[in-house]
Symmetry: C2
Subunit: 337 residues, 2 copies
Amino acid sequence: MITIAVDAMGGDHAPRPEVEGSVLAAREFELRVLLVGQPAVVQRELARHAVRGLSIEVVPASEVIAMTDSPTQAFRKKKDSSAHVAARLVQQGQADGMVSAGNTGAVMTVARFVSGTLPSVQRPALAAPLPTGRGGVAVLLDAGANVDSKVAHLVQFAVMGEIYYRAIFGVRRPKVALLSIGEEEMKGNELTRETYSRLKQLPLNFIGNIEGREVFSGSANVIVCDGFIGNVTLKVSEGAAQHIVGQLKKALQSTLASQVGSMLSRSAYKEFRRSIDYSEHGGAPLLGVRGVTVIGHGGSNANAVKNAVRVAAEMARARLNERIEQELSALQVAVEV
Amino acid sequence: MITIAVDAMGGDHAPRPEVEGSVLAAREFELRVLLVGQPAVVQRELARHAVRGLSIEVVPASEVIAMTDSPTQAFRKKKDSSAHVAARLVQQGQADGMVSAGNTGAVMTVARFVSGTLPSVQRPALAAPLPTGRGGVAVLLDAGANVDSKVAHLVQFAVMGEIYYRAIFGVRRPKVALLSIGEEEMKGNELTRETYSRLKQLPLNFIGNIEGREVFSGSANVIVCDGFIGNVTLKVSEGAAQHIVGQLKKALQSTLASQVGSMLSRSAYKEFRRSIDYSEHGGAPLLGVRGVTVIGHGGSNANAVKNAVRVAAEMARARLNERIEQELSALQVAVEV
């Protein structure tokens, strides 16, 4: 049975959604969950659930990384944090993967330096799921594990993202695109132009550049970019969504005066929020590290945690890391890394 | 009287919105408009309006730059295009500024090479207006005039954007921010970290880094970034808005069944669209070129054209270019350009 270590102390509302999500996952997917955190706190939360017959254990970790901790400080100083203990469980083979909704920078640093990167991987990349128009998902990477990426890094991101998309979303030939500022090969900056010329030589279903406008359209499955751009893209999307929802609320309030109207608008608004909710898609894997690591949004609810556990288990079952290592080392010559 | 040359052939729906917007501007703002384009086409459109007493003239230009033309080709081959003629009117002092809703890349190239850049300016920058939560406007630059910007370029963008915001929006000490991936000085990439350390030494109201999420929040008035990032930011916002509006339509359709409901939703939706409409804010000026140049969205309607003409006139009246040249040359030492 696949075992997933869950950082029970990581998220904004920890440990409640972490514990509930783990219980849901253990019930629904028949896997074993190790809840890592301060035992008294985690046990108290666990007592709220019916867990008889489920494979859930608590693994003690005395320290907690705060959202405000600096990644390197947290990595160096809090060796007994729930993130460290979860990463060591993976590194020592006691778990097949880990999930954390904690401080993204700190979790990435911990996962990367406790487990190490795969031998052929130059830089791990965070692969963020984005909802697309037709109910699908696109994966954008790097979503912020690196800045100032070089061409060889972006090429590796493309290969890792493609393998991930194939394995997790069951698409045989995912469409891989490069995020740029024009569709033509010559549009973009130095980095994207050179990356384009490399990607088109690889045995990928490379569809060329896409513009920012296409990120949510579903025209690409895997969207490759530098981590600075990826982070800006995600946060700008969030900001634009927030802005639009705010404007929408005002418009609905001023137009729908009656109680019926306001009830209708409430339910429409709820459905609308659900449709743009990222939590269904289960967190962002950190691709390229030796241990399977899935990082959830700090505000993850139980459903998001459950789905992150599912994704980690699927990655472990699909032996994703072995496939990444195999394909990258085979491509070593082609990509001239 | 201020004279503005309008490229009547540039936009997606040219010349209709260009001509109507120019008539509205001439009527509302008491300025003179030179409509530049193929005379027969422009005159036919002009005949639809009551223009007696308004100062509107048609200036002939035989060629038209298509949206699909490459900027350099268009610049070199179509010397009698409406954009070229408008830029020459500015360069020769027959107009105080130009407005075009045409092919952005081509118009930037034409404006830049017909008029030249200001002596102290290393790179012109496109300054795009963004609507913010409280009904305000933020200006983001560079929105795509350059890629692979250097530190000195970003510093100049900050100075030019601040002068523009002061002059056009009447804010005495606009808040200037750098777009990055974390608020702390050390967050970001090489470019933003070094730019941060330069900006904080300048006599600007520099509020530090903002993240993508803050772009629409109104926390900054002037948002500085490389043109690649700026272009991605604008297009991702557009894509996210489109995605959300699509999801919203679906939610409203499935929830508000009755005719009353659908009418209510239609009017709420319309108000909502208006509130996120960029056209009120009048196009993006290309700052740093000798001639005042304002570039509208290709899909500009008459209102957007009218507002772009207003902005161009305000820039001319405020002697914006003289102020940019003065302040940049005074800062020459401080910014170590």
